[in-house]
């Protein structure tokens, strides 16, 4: 347990002492999302201008307009649902991922691929820094050296993820969960049973994530050369050090849960004081914190891998 806690603490420390990596992640996320937002923003301005001129000076959001807009929206506009507002965004995204109810629309395929590419680069630079400090190679060089291999790892993981969604997910959430919930006498029991099903699916996702994570770590720390070798090494490490790898993952995941709880509490108890522009600033602060936690996953896994496999290069 000491090794795991050391890895987590050390990982957090390395992220906090690498402000340039965090800044690069924030900038990269803005860089890939702002063009999409500009397109959607322009569509929204046009749609709002072309509203029927009935009390159009009212400042608040008109749900009737929103639903009418959504009914005719195509492309990115179709993703402009009320769940984009504030805390509803992370809640809706995680829920959609677990429930699989809102299968990624075709229009989201490109942003997802873009995110995979950006993170393939960012992970290269970040893991190099977390593993070797800033002395071995520069940010750009570190990112480009491992980019192709990291992108292949992400692509293979994406294929496995799709397979999980067309095989295990329908069994769990299309057959098992409805039957379990239907047999429950109270909503509390039904909810608990659904949580159990979430845990089962979540565990499968975690195994996939751990394998991909340690595959990347094994490339940066040395032993693996190709992406396939790295995935084999990642799977081998997770199998051999299952308890430690899972515990570290869960502990780091708890940081994310704490972040979500904080965000939710701020929005629920902040009331009208955290709406409007303040709400947008809070949402961006949440994204920065989420990026810090994501980087902590990588940093702590580098330290755990080193500690348990005895590799120092």
């Amino acid at each position: 347990m000491t090794t795991i806690l050391k890895a987590l603490g050390g990982g957090l420390l390395r992220v906090f002492t690498s402000p340039l990596i965090v800044a690069a992640a924030v900038a990269a996320m803005l860089l890939v999302t702002v063009p999409f937002a500009a397109v959607l923003g322009s569509e929204l301005q046009e749609a709002l201008s072309n509203q029927q001129p009935i009390s159009r000076d009212a400042g608040e959001i008109d749900p009737e307009w929103w639903f009418e807009y959504l009914e005719h929206a195509r492309g990115l506009g179709a993703t402009f649902t009320p769940s984009i507002i504030g805390f509803a965004a992370p809640l809706g995204n995680i829920s959609a991922m677990l429930d699989g109810v809102e299968s990624p629309r075709l229009v989201m395929l490109f942003p997802y691929l873009l995110a995979m590419a950006v993170w393939s680069f960012l992970w290269g630079a970040a893991l190099e820094r977390f593993a070797h400090g800033s002395t071995r190679s520069g940010f750009i060089r570190a990112g480009t050296t491992t980019f192709v291999r990291f992108f292949i790892i992400s692509l293979i993981a994406a294929v496995v993820l799709v397979l999980l969604y067309v095989s295990i997910h329908p069994l769990l959430f299309g057959i098992l969960a409805p039957n379990l919930e239907g047999s429950a006498a109270t909503e509390r029991t039904a909810f608990m049973l659904r949580v159990v099903v979430y845990l089962i699916f979540g565990a499968v996702l975690m195994l996939l994530s751990l394998t991909a994570d340690y595959a990347r770590v094994s490339i940066v720390t040395g032993p693996a050369v190709s992406a396939i070798d790295a995935l084999r090494e990642g799977a081998r490490f997770v199998r051999r050090h299952f308890g430690s790898a899972v515990t570290l993952y869960v502990l780091t995941g708890l940081l994310f849960v704490a972040l979500l709880v904080t965000y939710g509490a701020v929005e629920i108890y902040g009331g009208s004081r955290v709406m409007g522009w303040r709400g947008i600033a809070i949402a961006q602060a949440y994204i920065v914190a989420r990026l810090v936690i994501r980087l902590t996953f990588g940093a702590s896994e580098v330290l755990l891998y080193r500690a348990l496999s005895g590799r120092v290069n």
């Binding site: 959607l40 009935i54 009390s55 809706g92 006498a185 909810f191």
Partner: protein, 447 residues
């Protein structure tokens, strides 16, 4: 507004008094009360059995609810002690509101049942039975159980229209959805915020920025199709479970349109007269049309003939707005309006060849604030308006008051020139930016 608040307070006080009276009455067995309700409603055994297992061992209470000038309404509440009182109060308030609009609740007796949400019956209504679900997790702005109960109470009036077997049950379904939507908006005005449910529907989150039932003085239309009002296709709780969903939906929108066309006070009088005349009879569209035409003093069959067409859409659009500087320091403006669908908003039952109607307004606004309103005969296909003015046009809109909710696409009803920046739109775009960042991080979290 203060009158409304006083009315609400009075209702709550009355409900409180009645609850106190009810508390002193001996409790009934829930299963027995349910069996009695099932017999009275001649409810399908398959549906009855879905509720049966949840009412076993639950207490039932009978409450006599007094509505001024009307016979006493008997409310039998089958619910856990923690929720029984609030649900009975909500049922009483719904009954008051609906009775004021439409007359006494059919049958003068309603059994309200609180079942767990996974039964999938919240909002279901059968003759004399209203079903709701108190949620395990809820928010202060959701009112899930109370809204479902309001929906089920409002649908009692529609059930009375369709009690005898009939082929056009879609008609009652359409009325049910209209009554329920209106009742929800009125009952939860200013209190009900959009609440999304996540994680299989168990975790709610209310969005404070989106008030679903705004003040009725706001001239903008209210959301006409609430998700929890229209049951899914094939649901046993639909009045017309076997079909007619499209037509029912169209009728609901047509009724909302009529409300905006004739105004609520006149439309409410029509609805009340129709419900009163329907007592003991099976009603159909022609019966409602007869009452409406009588109340309006003109044949209204033209409206339903077009509004309920399933083979054509009704869609008016401003297809062109251009304003150019002319030689004499004035501006020349051209506005083109077109009917894109085959359905029409006639405005009269008299044939086009005999009479030109003024069924739809077109508003043109200029930069100096001046406005011109033209009237169209909705049966024509295209219209062009040309103006010479001191300032350029900034906006043209067909049906500017958003009366025609049956218009298939209201996003093309208006065109603007050189529009101002909308701060709300900017804020929403920034919200979407954060959503996209989060979606990218979540979507690639395990990759």
């Amino acid at each position: 507004v203060s009158g409304r608040i006083q009315q609400l307070r009075a209702s709550m006080l009355l409900a409180g008094v009645l609850m106190t009276a009810a508390a002193s009455q001996p409790a009934l067995d829930g299963a027995e009360a349910w069996a009695r309700a099932v017999r009275a409603a001649s409810l399908d055994p398959a549906i009855a059995s879905r509720v049966e297992r949840f009412v076993d061992g639950v207490e039932a209470h009978t409450i006599a609810h007094q509505i001024e000038g009307q016979p006493s309404l008997e409310i039998i509440s089958i619910a856990a002690p923690a929720t029984a009182q609030s649900l009975a109060a909500a049922a009483g308030q719904s009954a008051d509101r609906l009775a004021a609009w439409l007359g006494p609740l059919p049958g003068n007796r309603v059994t309200i049942v609180d079942v767990p949400a996974q039964a999938g019956l919240a909002g279901a209504a059968y003759p004399g039975i209203a079903i709701t679900s108190s949620r395990l997790l809820t928010t202060r702005r959701e009112f899930a159980a109370e809204r479902a109960l309001t929906v089920a109470m409002a649908r009692q009036y529609a059930l009375a229209l369709a009690r005898a077997p009939q082929t056009d049950a879609w008609f009652a379904e359409g009325f049910g959805e209209y009554f329920a939507t209106r009742a929800v908006h009125e009952s939860f005005e200013g209190r009900y915020y959009l609440t999304l449910r996540h994680f299989g529907g168990y975790v709610p989150h209310s969005i404070r920025a989106i008030a679903m039932s705004p003040n009725p003085l706001d001239p903008r239309p209210r959301v006409a199709r609430l998700r929890d009002v229209a049951p899914p296709a094939g649901a046993s709780r639909r009045v017309a479970p076997d079909g007619g969903i499209d037509r029912a939906g169209r009728l609901t929108m047509a009724l909302h349109t009529l409300e905006r066309f004739v105004g609520w006070p006149a439309f409410q009088a029509t609805l009340r007269a129709f419900v009163e005349r329907s007592a003991g009879k099976t009603m159909a569209l022609q019966d409602f049309n007869a009452v409406l035409s009588e109340q309006r003093g003109t044949d209204m069959s033209w409206f339903f003939a077009q509004a309920l067409r399933t083979d054509a859409s009704l869609d008016y659009a401003v297809v062109n707005l251009a304003s150019a500087a002319a030689a004499d320091a004035r501006w020349t403006t051209i506005v083109d309006v077109r009917r894109l669908g085959e359905a029409t908003f006639d405005g009269t039952a008299v044939p086009r060849a005999t009479l030109t109607s003024r069924s739809l307004p077109v508003l043109v606004r200029f930069a100096d604030g001046s406005e011109i309103t033209e009237w169209l005969d909705g049966r024509d296909r295209e219209w062009r308006f040309e103006y010479s003015s001191a300032s350029p046009a900034v906006l043209a809109s067909v049906d500017p008051g958003a009366m025609l909710l049956i218009d298939a696409d209201r996003t093309n009803n208006t065109r603007t020139l050189n529009p101002q920046l909308h701060i709300v739109g900017l804020r929403l775009a920034f919200n979407w930016l954060a959503w996209l960042q989060d979606a990218m991080l979540t979507g690639t979290a395990v990759l």
